[in-house]
């Protein structure tokens, strides 16, 4: 048994390191995250307990091992007076839960292969046009909810799609090709998400000590053997991180299923339950499906933990020469790059380019757009519903950023500096929203705040979702700022703070006059990145955001209006205009952070 005096002394030691400022810095983030992250997610768990999981797993709507539909159908059709062989790729359905799972696996694997190939070419070879290819490869990362998927559908539509038009009307071949339904969703997600893998693997490859590969070559490995035995294994941390993120993003993606009108996914199913929830009741199926999403996401996250903590091993020795091995590409390689990689990247970047076309073209119902107009762009200010959504998103985002900075700076400081147990736990709590599907948070918020907080301003049914959206944004986008601040703190030697304390400054004075000025640029960069992703936030926005409907005084954010306008006449043009607005904000921030502040962050990654 520990003696009482011993206990008192331990307490005295702990209290020495914990002054009021630090206690506040620890308590505030913990309280916020408990209330606005842990409690809602725990509620999802509680609600789903009411539902017998056997009901869901035996229902063929959810799990069905007899595939429905055929992956490819080929038939003869007469279309606009001509005969065509229609090749339609649509995929088979295995029930809602299995569809989500299988789709996410396929997307992750395909995106990984594409990402690795592009990363390897970019990281190891130089060739004319490399910079352009790098920009193209990053383009799909510009977030444009719904409308990029809409452009992809436009490419693969068998009636007025670009590919079928080229084959049928330009080349006059008797074929029309369409990718739709489940397959459409998969191809959209692959095109959208592969740059995440590319970026993570690329940065891993850049960080491989050149001497590692040189040593292998020195021992006789070359070409594919070298790649397989040294380069790829050393890039695994990046690949693992990227793949987990893609898996999670694919699971919770709602935009592609909505655009392809493919309801046989968990994410769409949860959304549908939400669209009925304006009455104040949310089907418990939403909770059960959320729980499954959560478990899958966490499994992916935990699965990669091993690799991500091993991050250092990609950069064993930092001594000596450190320039990544970049070689000139020979003719054979150049042909591969220009004939295969360039078209691929152009193709993947096309949706973002297509957003601009949609926004600026008079009409794009036919395979080709025609006319130029600024009318659609003007609509985002003129249409009161749309303009209000922009104002709403701005308001929520600014409010969220204030919270994010407060929580992010406090928690990162505690994690980086405080010598108390449980900082690891806080660290996990602060970074976990990266891996938590937004839909799960939305469902949790609904249950938690319509029950315990019924009638308070936090109740989205009575008062509307405004406050909850700001809070949800602040939790979901916290990791970007928290990680930037943490990175900044690691650059600030602790002696700089100790020198201040030593000269008689209190903890608060030291924080204000030494720490914050030194990490100001990190705070600002992190806040800007968080802001950008608040503005384009989708999954919470389209679920909670619509709970008060779309009236004159609506509280919906940009993403909800984008979803809502997608099916209206002329709507896609306005949605695209909003997409242009979001892309512009994102580009502005990227330039500010990278060029003006000279900060380097992986925008998406673990």
């Amino acid at each position: 048994m520990i003696k009482r005096s011993e206990l008192l002394k331990n307490l005295k030691v702990q209290m020495f390191y914990l002054d009021p400022v630090l206690v506040t810095q620890l308590a505030f983030p913990t309280l916020m995250l408990t209330l606005f992250l842990i409690a809602p997610i725990a509620t999802v768990l509680l609600v789903s307990l009411n539902y017998n999981p056997a009901d869901i797993f035996t229902d063929p709507t959810y799990v069905n091992f007899n595939p429905r539909g055929s992956p490819i159908t080929i038939r003869l059709i007469t279309f606009r007076g001509r005969e065509f062989i229609l090749i339609k790729i649509s995929g088979v359905s295995l029930g809602i839960i299995m569809n989500s799972l299988v789709n996410s696996f396929i997307v992750t694997i395909c995106a990984s292969i594409l990402g690795i190939v592009v990363a390897f070419v970019m990281a190891r070879y130089s060739f004319p046009g490399r910079t352009i290819l790098r920009v193209l490869a990053m383009t799909p990362l510009l977030v444009t909810p719904f409308i990029n998927a809409f452009v992809i559908r436009k490419i693969f539509d068998w009636r007025d799609g670009i590919i079928s038009w080229i084959i049928g009307d330009v080349l006059h071949l008797p074929y029309r090709i369409g990718i739709e339904d489940l397959a459409g969703v998969a191809i959209t997600q692959i095109m959208t998400f592969f740059p995440i893998i590319y970026l993570n693997v690329y940065s891993s490859m850049i960080n491989i000590d050149p001497s590692m590969e040189e040593q292998a070559e020195n021992l006789g490995a070359k070409g594919l053997k070298l790649f397989r035995t040294v380069t790829l294994p050393l890039s695994l941390p990046g690949l693992a991180a990227g793949a987990a993120i893609v898996f999670i993003f694919s699971l919770e993606d709602v935009a592609a299923p909505i655009v392809f009108n493919e309801k046989r996914f968990m994410s769409y199913h949860i959304l549908e339950r939400f669209l009925e929830a304006t009455t104040g009741q949310l089907s418990p199926v939403a909770a059960t499906l959320s729980l499954i999403l959560l478990i899958l996401a966490l499994a992916a996250f935990i699965g990669i933990k091993k690799y991500v903590t091993l991050k250092q091993y990609a950069m064993l020795s930092r001594g000596g020469r450190w320039s990544p091995r970049i070689r000139r590409l020979r003719l054979k390689g150049l042909i591969v790059v220009y004939l295969f990689i360039l078209p691929l990247l152009l193709f993947a970047a096309f949706p973002q380019i297509g957003v601009f076309i949609y926004a600026l073209a008079e009409n794009w119902a036919d395979p080709l757009p025609y006319g130029f107009t600024l009318e659609h762009m003007a609509k985002i200010v003129e249409d009161p519903l749309v303009f209000r959504a922009i104002v709403n998103s701005l308001t929520y985002s600014i409010l969220a950023i204030i919270l994010i900075v407060a929580i992010g700076v406090s928690s990162s400081y505690v994690i980086a500096r405080a010598r108390i147990p449980a900082t690891d736990l806080l660290d996990i709590l602060v970074t976990s929203p990266i891996a938590l599907p937004g839909l799960v948070i939305a469902v949790g918020y609904f249950y938690f705040f319509t029950s315990i907080f019924r009638g308070t301003p936090l109740d989205p049914i009575t008062f509307g979702p405004a406050l909850l959206l700001s809070l949800a944004y602040s939790v979901r986008r916290l990791p970007f700022t928290a990680r930037a601040v943490y990175a900044g703190l690691q650059q600030v030697h602790i002696a700089l703070e100790e020198a201040s304390l030593n000269l008689g400054a209190s903890r608060l004075k030291t924080l204000v006059s030494i720490v914050i000025p030194l990490i100001g640029i990190n705070i600002l960069s992190g806040a800007l990145i968080s802001f950008v992703y608040c503005m384009s936030e989708t999954s919470v926005g389209i679920t909670l955001g619509g709970l008060k409907g779309v009236g004159e005084e609506h509280q919906a954010p940009i993403s909800f209006i984008m979803m809502d306008y997608l099916e209206r006449v002329g709507g896609p043009h306005i949605v695209a205009s909003l997409g242009v607005l979001l892309i512009s904000i994102q580009l502005l921030v990227i330039v500010l952070v990278n060029v003006v502040f000279k900060q380097k962050y992986a925008y998406i990654g673990v």
């Binding site: 005295k12 030691v13 020495f16 002054d19 030697h493 002696a495 700089l496 100790e498 020198a499 201040s500 304390l501 030593n502 000269l503 008689g504 400054a505 209190s506 004075k509 006059s513 030494i514 000025p517 030194l518």
Partner: protein, 365 residues
């Protein structure tokens, strides 16, 4: 002016014992150095005095006041950090004035005192520079000025010279010593450089594995190392191992091998009996080519010569062991020749070999 007392201070980090029952007393205006190899706990001890760590056991006392649980900002001591810890977003002036601003000293007086202290450290005219625009030596002076300007009770210096080049290190060493003398501030200095410690300090505490093994004036420690560790850590030393053949009071004769015996004084606090394993510690500079008084004569074969400037270093094989000796560089020796050296009995200290891991002794040449 403050007297600093540590009473049985211990500190563990997890399972690692950083400081083990360390007790020291530093007098008013004394220049006191904690000396030891890296990882011996000297910096932790200094940080305990500054208040960045609190000890698991023991007390820290300034004059009569127990400050063990006082926050760093309540202690009134000023520290110069190993990496200087100058704030990069503040000018030299703002860095130095910081402590005075905290103390709410009137603006005019801050100006006056900053100017004075910058004069003292020889940085007049650089007030508006930023730390990154200064050389290493200048940064070091700013760090010193920043600490001195608040007229601290105790000045703490954590390896302040380790980031400077050799020449600058020697000059700053003298300057620090002179300023400390002029201002008469109680100063506690941490270093792993034994020459630096010996030359700058009033008293030195030698630490090893968290413990203080010997405290004393530099010359005292050099002449009378209390144990084998101190003997080999302070100055350059060379050793020969053997067994005790004869004892007369504190005078002992040790047989090294069939042809060679060495007579020396038995180290203080130790006892030996005939037949015990022992080790004789000698300073290489104490060997001479002339025999004077009660001297040992050592004969051996020169294996290697190295010209080091003020002297030539020889590696001499005396049968089964090697030893190092310094001789006058004017005397030319070729490798492979036999040589006869003398060393006075009083310059040989003999320690028992028991209790010292063999590998540690092996590292002494």
């Amino acid at each position: 002016m403050t007297r600093v007392t540590l009473k049985e201070v211990s500190k563990k980090f997890g399972k690692v014992v950083a400081v083990d029952k360390a007790s020291i007393e530093v007098d008013h205006g004394e220049f006191f150095t904690l000396l030891g190899p890296s990882g011996c706990g000297k910096t932790t001890t200094l940080r305990i005095i500054a208040g960045f760590e609190i000890p698991d056991e023991g007390r820290v006392i300034f004059d009569e006041e127990d400050v063990t649980f006082k926050k760093p900002y309540e202690r009134g001591c000023a520290m110069v950090f190993q990496n200087y810890a100058l704030w990069p977003h503040m000018t030299v002036y703002d860095n130095v004035a910081y402590g005075l601003k905290i103390r709410k000293v009137p603006k005019e007086e801050i100006k006056k005192r900053v100017k004075e202290v910058l004069d003292l450290v020889g940085l007049t005219g650089l007030e508006n520079r930023y730390p990154l625009q200064l050389s290493g030596g200048q940064q070091q002076r700013v760090a010193l000025a920043r600490a001195l300007v608040i007229e601290p009770k105790v000045l703490l210096l954590d390896e302040p010279l380790s980031n400077l080049d050799a020449k600058l290190r020697l000059r700053m060493r003298e300057e620090i010593r002179k300023i400390q003398r002029d201002l008469n501030i109680t100063t506690i200095y941490v270093t792993h450089d034994q020459e630096e410690a010996m030359s700058i300090s009033d008293r030195v505490a030698i630490m090893r594995r968290g413990r203080i093994v010997q405290v004393g004036r530099p010359s005292e420690i050099y002449m009378n190392p209390r144990n084998l560790f101190v003997a080999t850590f302070i100055g350059r030393s060379t050793a020969l191992r053997g067994s005790i053949e004869y004892i007369q009071g504190r005078r002992v004769k040790m047989r090294v091998n069939e042809k060679l015996t060495i007579t020396g004084k038995l180290a203080e606090d130790y006892e030996l009996s005939v037949g015990d394993k022992a080790i004789a510690i000698m300073h290489p500079e104490d060997f001479t080519l002339k025999v004077e008084g009660e001297s040992n004569i050592i004969e051996g074969v020169v294996e290697l010569t190295m010209f080091l400037g003020p002297f030539t270093q020889l590696r001499i094989n005396v049968g089964d062991q090697n030893m190092i000796a310094y001789i006058d560089p004017e005397y030319e020796v070729k490798t492979g020749t036999r040589i006869r050296l003398a060393i006075k009995e009083e310059d040989v200290i003999i320690f028992p070999l028991i209790g010292w891991e063999e590998f540690e002794v092996e590292t002494i040449t």
